[in-house]
């Protein structure tokens, strides 16, 4: 152990109350940061999860044809040509298995599900309703939509003419598992299907208008041959969606890649401003803690000036004299961070305990996050001891001994 460390430890130990107060100051600061940081992060995660957790984050489609391009881009000149309602089957992606094969190796992908999207009219007991049909391979689609776990009735099975319908749709049509419905396709064909199950994806509009069916059946229904309309993908870090999408755009030709971030700009900007206000608060917490440590150590330098003078007379160098105070800052920072981490986790559990129940937010913290906060606090504490350390280094031993 360096002798500077020994002296730093003894100085801290001798000023027990002072040390305790400043430790509590750092600990409270760290605890607030952990609590606030985890709260904001969890809030955002929950919000993002609700928005995109059960939907496609990156969707690969075929390049737009003329009509849909005109529709989506709202081209003024061609407006006259496109008046009226269109039943749209999106353009088919014929080389999809190649694309899936190409992307399969990408470790960032957590789910990849080929799908067919189309519109149709559903008929049952004299009631008509316009719906979205989604042709899927259940095993793959489950990874995104988690349908099997969210059935309120029936079997998680899409095969042949068996389809899954939303709970609201089931209610509206007055039809449940085992019931028979007719689908009217845009091409004017009517096909009968059996309701194999009812799902609740916890989204009103989805529950009201979505129907899942087997991918192959959908290919037939919409006369797509072996083609599909979209490859739906989820990735491990949804916030990387734009980066990943850009990357793939350069690798894949003749496709259009949509990603959720472009479609949810408002949400993202709200999240960003929430984050920045959280960072602002955290910054000022750290600043307050830093100033506190700095002033306490500055007082300590004055209190200990006689001792420092003595040490210098006995041959301590300027570097050693300053190190004694830098070490105090470092020790305070480390101890304060450890205590503060415990306090922060305790605070989170207390909060969680009083906010139990369905639908309430679950606050998660990560060890890496706590480590980062602790490291920042430790760095701040060490930084705070710089000025006192400099004063200690420049202390004139004679003056200190004479006036001490």
């Amino acid at each position: 152990m360096s002798y500077e460390l020994k002296i730093a430890l003894r100085f801290l130990k001798s000023g027990k109350t002072q040390t305790l107060f400043i430790l509590m100051g750092i600990a409270v600061g760290v605890a607030v940061q952990i609590f606030l940081g985890s709260l904001i992060t969890s809030l955002q995660e929950s919000l993002v999860d609700r928005t995109i957790g059960n939907s496609s984050q990156i969707t690969i489609k075929a390049e737009d044809d003329e009509i849909s391009r005109a529709l989506t881009e709202n081209n003024q000149e061609e407006e006259t040509l496109l008046r009226g309602n269109f039943s749209v089957i999106e353009k088919s992606l014929n080389n999809w298995s190649l694309i899936v094969g190409q992307l399969q190796g990408d470790e960032r992908i957590t789910a990849i599900s080929p799908a067919i999207q189309g519109t149709a009219l559903i008929r049952s007991a004299g009631k008509n309703q316009s719906i979205q049909v989604k042709g899927i391979e259940l095993e793959n689609a489950d990874k995104i939509y988690d349908i099997s776990q969210r059935l309120t009735g029936g079997e998680p099975l899409v095969e042949g003419n068996s389809i899954l319908i939303g709970s609201k749709l089931s209610e509206n049509l007055g039809i449940g598992t085992g019931g028979v419905v007719s689908l009217l396709t845009p091409k004017g064909e009517t096909v009968r299907f059996i309701v194999g199950g009812v799902f609740d994806l916890q989204n009103e509009s989805v529950n009201e208008s979505l129907v899942f069916m087997d991918l192959k059946r959908a290919q037939k229904l919409f006369q797509l041959g072996s083609g599909i309309t979209a490859i739906e993908i989820q990735i491990s870090d949804p916030f990387q969606a734009d980066v990943v999408a850009e990357e793939w755009k350069s690798q894949l030709s003749e496709v259009k890649i949509d990603q959720w971030k472009a479609q949810n700009e408002q949400l993202l900007s709200a999240l960003a401003s929430q984050s920045s206000s959280s960072y602002t608060i955290q910054f000022f917490v750290i600043l307050a803690v830093t100033l506190g440590i700095s002033s306490v150590l500055a007082v300590s330098v004055v209190q200990k000036s006689k001792e420092i003078g003595i040490l210098k007379a006995m041959g301590s160098t300027k570097t050693s004299a300053s190190r004694i105070f830098l070490l105090q800052g470092l020790i305070l920072g480390i101890l304060g961070s450890i205590v503060g981490s415990g306090l922060g986790i305790l605070l989170l559990s207390v909060y969680q305990f009083f906010n139990q129940g369905s639908g309430s937010l679950v606050i998660n913290y990560t060890w890496s996050g706590i480590l980062i906060i602790g490291m920042i606090a430790t760095a701040a504490a060490t930084f705070a001891s710089l000025i006192p350390a400099r004063r200690s280094a420049n202390l004139n031993p004679m003056e200190a001994i004479k006036n001490g």
Binding site: L5, K6, I310, L311, G315, S316, I401
Partner: protein, 272 residues
């Protein structure tokens, strides 16, 4: 001829920038190895300033200072610190122990500074020294649990731990009662005799001055007299040093000559 330990030539020290105060005004001084010398003089005469220069705590404004053959001004901050650590032992008026440490640890601190790390290499030596100063049973005591005299003795042991060539003491007994003063003085003398290191003691106490090998008297930043005690009679020495340091009167009793000299020490703290 004794070997020269430290040698100052025309030392000048000025303080202040706007108004300059000359604390030392051209002092020449030579101190030999193993010498036991005291500096006397009124408050503000430059005694402590001289001591600080010799101990490399401060640099002279002008003049040259040699330790053995090494010139001080050629040394940088780090070398001066090292010099203080290895060559010089300091004893201050108010002992200045570190209250956070035990007696033993206080004695060991200069050795820690020397090596940079806390170790027990010199532990035995430290205990030996504490034994020498009569504190063997107090080595584990927190230093602020000791009496003034005991603390001063710890600080003497501390000054000796790195086997310095020169011990500089600034009013080492200024803060002690007469009994402790006597003890401390005897101790310093004994260490000087046994271990052979040179002592330079700034003092107001004529008892110490009287018993030194050499008395250096200062006034207004200059050395006005410098002599070896063995070349003077005790009466002459007494006469020489008393007027400066004591407002004394001689009480005549029973027709005997000055048997009862009453010394009233100068109580003002010498801040120079």
């Amino acid at each position: 001829m004794d070997k020269v330990l430290i040698h100052g030539e025309n030392l000048v020290k000025e303080y202040g920038t706007a108004i300059k105060t000359r604390a030392l005004d051209g002092v020449d001084l030579q101190l030999n190895e193993g010498e036991f010398a005291s500096i006397i003089g009124a408050s503000g005469c430059g005694k402590s300033t001289l001591l600080n220069l010799l101990g490399a705590l401060d640099r002279p404004t002008a003049g040259k200072l040699y330790f053995k053959d090494k010139e001080f001004s050629s040394m940088n901050e780090f070398e001066l610190a090292q010099f203080r650590n290895r060559r010089i032992g300091f004893i201050f008026q108010f002992h200045h122990l570190l209250p956070e440490f035990t007696a033993l640890e206080n004695v060991l601190i200069p050795s820690w500074i020397e090596s940079g790390v806390v170790n027990q290499k010199k532990q035995e030596r430290a205990i030996e020294l504490l034994e020498t100063v009569g504190l063997k049973d107090k080595i584990r005591n927190p230093s602020n649990n000791l009496s003034g005299g005991q603390q001063q003795r710890v600080s003497i042991a501390r000054a000796l731990i790195n086997d310095p060539d020169l011990v500089l003491a600034d009013e080492p007994t200024g803060n002690l009662d007469s009994e402790s003063t006597e003890q401390v003085y005897d101790l310093l003398r004994k260490i000087n005799r046994d271990l052979g290191m040179a002592f330079l003691i700034v003092t107001h106490d004529r008892h110490i001055a009287e018993k030194s090998d050499r008395i250096i008297e200062m006034k207004d930043g200059k050395i006005i007299s410098d002599y070896l005690t063995r070349s003077e009679t005790p009466e002459a020495i007494w006469k020489n040093i008393a007027p400066i340091n004591c407002k004394y009167r001689i009480q005549f009793g029973d027709g005997e000559q000055d048997e009862h000299r009453v010394c009233m020490p100068d109580t003002g703290y010498s801040g120079s």
